[in-house]
């Protein structure tokens, strides 16, 4: 399909690598690639480590563990689309009455989704916020499966909190971290639904990531050929990561773990 001038109805002609050349020569494509990288890096930096930290905190807190866990689980009861609306309507309201603008009453009201300086961040935060509770569960289970004796051994050897984290917790979590990281990396490259609901790619093309661009190309402009070509380019860029993911997955096995 990537090699065709694909038409929904009627004859689709073979155009060779024209689609790829068109895509390569398209300025918007390269711009969107840049935005995608920006999006992925921000997403990983914020979204990947938040659940890990949360799990550590949750496992260390001496009391009210279950209560905290339940609270952090609250966003999960609303589906992704609902969370996007919530943030869009409540927090990102561009007038002075928006929640975020109220919190920052000392500066002028900011149009969070309409200002190019903030949009990318604004699009990412809801997902990070909503995913933290659910994401931390698996780490919580992993932390739980580390036997207490190992920590005690470090303690006997005179190690403090830092040594424990470095020599026990980190190695124990490493396979999980690795798998989740690669998965999250590939996943965020394809993200689009949430961005569509928040900004639909705007303002300008600030949040026009590849996933969204492909969607527009195919289903709004009905240029399936170029859309598929773009998807292939994106896919082949990720091929290294995908192979890595497959390799790790074929080396591990999954065991059930439980949290009290």
């Amino acid at each position: 399909m990537a090699f065709q001038d694909y038409r929904i109805t009627g004859h689709s002609s073979w155009v060779g690598v024209d689609n790829f050349i068109n895509v390569m020569l398209n300025k918007d494509f390269w711009l969107s690639l840049r935005q995608t990288f920006k999006y992925v890096i921000l997403c990983i930096a914020l979204g990947f480590f938040t659940p890990v930290v949360l799990a550590l905190l949750l496992s260390e807190v001496p009391r009210w563990k279950t209560a905290f866990r339940t609270v952090f689980f609250l966003p999960q009861i609303s589906s992704g689309l609902v969370i996007m609306f919530l943030w869009k309507v409540l927090l990102y309201n561009p007038t002075e009455h928006g929640l975020l603008n109220k919190l920052l009453w000392f500066v002028d009201p900011v149009d969070w989704l309409g200002d190019q300086r903030f949009t990318m961040m604004a699009v990412i935060l809801p997902g990070v916020w909503a995913g933290a509770g659910m994401g931390s569960l698996i780490y919580l289970a992993a932390l739980k499966s580390i036997p207490n004796e190992t920590y005690e051994a470090v303690e006997v050897d005179g190690g403090g909190i830092w040594e424990k984290l470095r020599h026990v917790t980190l190695p124990a979590l490493l396979p999980l971290l690795l798998i989740r990281f690669v998965g999250a990396f590939i996943g965020t490259f394809h993200a689009m639904g949430n961005i569509f609901a928040m900004t639909a790619g705007g303002p300008g093309n600030e949040t026009m990531v590849m996933g969204l661009m492909i969607w527009y190309e195919a289903f709004a402009f009905l240029r399936y050929g170029t859309a598929t070509a773009m998807a292939w380019i994106l896919g082949s860029m990720l091929i290294g990561f995908t192979l890595m993911q497959l390799k790790i997955l074929s080396r591990v096995e999954f065991r059930r773990a439980a949290i009290d």
Partner: protein, 652 residues
Amino acid sequence: MPILPTVGRKSPRIRLVIVGIYVLLVLGGVTMVVPFLITLTGSVSNTADFERYDILPAYFGRRDLRFAKFLAEKYAGIRFEHFATAHGAPAGWSSFKDLGFEEDLGRYWNDLDGKGEAELERIASDYEEFLAKYDTGNMFALFGNWGLEDCRRFLREKYVRLAREGDAGARLSGRACRARALELLSKAWNEGVYEYWDLLNFDQEQRYPYHLRRWIPPDEPRYTDYLEYLRWLPASKKVPVTTRYLWCLYLLDKNIRVAGIDEEFGTDFRSIYRIPPGDIVRLPGPLGELWRRFVSESWPIRLVELAPGFARGFPGFLEDRYGTVEAMNAGAGTSYGSFSDVPTLTRLPGELGLRRLWVEFALGAAEGEVTRLSVEKDYREFLRAKYVDIGRLNDAYGWRLARFDLAELPLREVDWLDYSRNSGYCFWKFLSHNMGEVLSFIAVRGRALWNTGLLVALTVLFTLTVNPMAAYALSRFRLRYSQQILIYLLATMAFPPEVGMIPGFLLLRDLHLLNTFPALILPGAANGFTVFLLKGFFDSLPRELYEAATVDGAGEFKMFTSITLALSKPILAVIALQAFLVSYGSFMWAFLVCQDPDMWTLMVWLYQFQAKNGANPHLVMAAIVIASVPTLVVFAGCQKIILRGIVLPTMK
């Protein structure tokens, strides 16, 4: 708490760390709970208090805020200036949102709070008597949101009656009769009205702009229905178009700076909504000039009475225009024998053909030849006829007027009394209206609930059949290429979903499955990663079980169900839960493959609802709350299952 040392917990450093953990968790917890509470509060708010973003509804404890919310509902669907001029709003108010932010609203209605109940009752009942006789063609229906119920009921009753009276109507069943009534309504209104929803309350002022100079009532069934509806409504549910209102719109259009005028002429208007019309007071400086320009350039012609002397010129005007009476009959759709048969019309005629011509004729009248009709004037006449003497009126109403000509429509009093009488009902409506609106939107439109329920059930069912079976086959029978097959399945994850999305969409189209349930369910039913996960898990079950079962004579399917599935319940439960969440929340794919509204799921409708109600975020909040209920129920019931079904990767 294994990382924190078990001994020496009392040391200040460790204590600090623990306190730090608490602080972080509590802060994080607050960010989780607060939006949740604000959403709940928002779902029981309205235009007046939504943007306060209270964590708990402030109006529970504030009567003045409840009154403001009531006013916001009462004057919903028409321009804010109706309310602002009637209540003499302060300068800073430009929408009901501004009322919500006031700390003490009570001070604007203090005078009414101290007024005797009997006086208020008398004012209101007299006003009701007056309005019952007043021209329905010069008023709007109130309660743009709550009144929809009334509006729908009125139309349903009217058209069901029509359907019954029509041929063969008597034999129709209730359901068929309602369907026929809808058909009649759509035909009469000349548009596709599928349900009692987008009806006249919403756009009455857009559709019937009474304030425009040349606007004349259209001759269409929709407008006739609207007038009939207005006649049917009680006085407290409609508002006449006042001179004050028309004058205020004119002033707003001219961008008058009230503060400047007050300063220059020593007046005390303070707000543009309080500048009185020039027919009862002498307006200072530029305002007087503006008033003269307003009445000669902008006053609606339909509210004009011509002097009889001038009106006699109408037939002549027509003759000048058309020449022959036949030409006029053809051009205006009238049927007169000669020009002298045309009556002398001092007011806007009922006959549509003549109306337009009469408006053009009346536009030519000079200032001395017209009398302006206004609801205030009629009201003053009404009071004069009823009380004769101004002293008697003042006694009865508790007013202090010097003469009848200063009387204003008692809209403030009526609104105040209206609220005091119905405060309990209003409170109930504050709580329930948004939810009811969302529910009726979902219940009436398409088959959202049925679609979503079926979709979720089928998706869970398919996920729980396809994936375990595939995994079982791979795990139980050591095929030569099982490893390769597994890699092949996993490789599906490598491709970006968009690559699959387009051919998937086209494939569904070629299979003629668009707008069907299979289109929603099949693409996501089998998942490479799930099969991989399950296969690994099935591998870890002891082989001896199968051998024992074989010895006992169990078939393959029996072993599959009572050994494999029975032993992996927790994981299957988690997979089912995920399938539920994904299918319930899926929106883009659902929208793409099912563009027929009949097949839209709840999420797609929700998206539509929020797109349609961008101006009513409190309705969106209610929709969010309602959409969260199924997930909340499932999560509350399955928390244990989730916690027991977590799988961790370990290196082989």
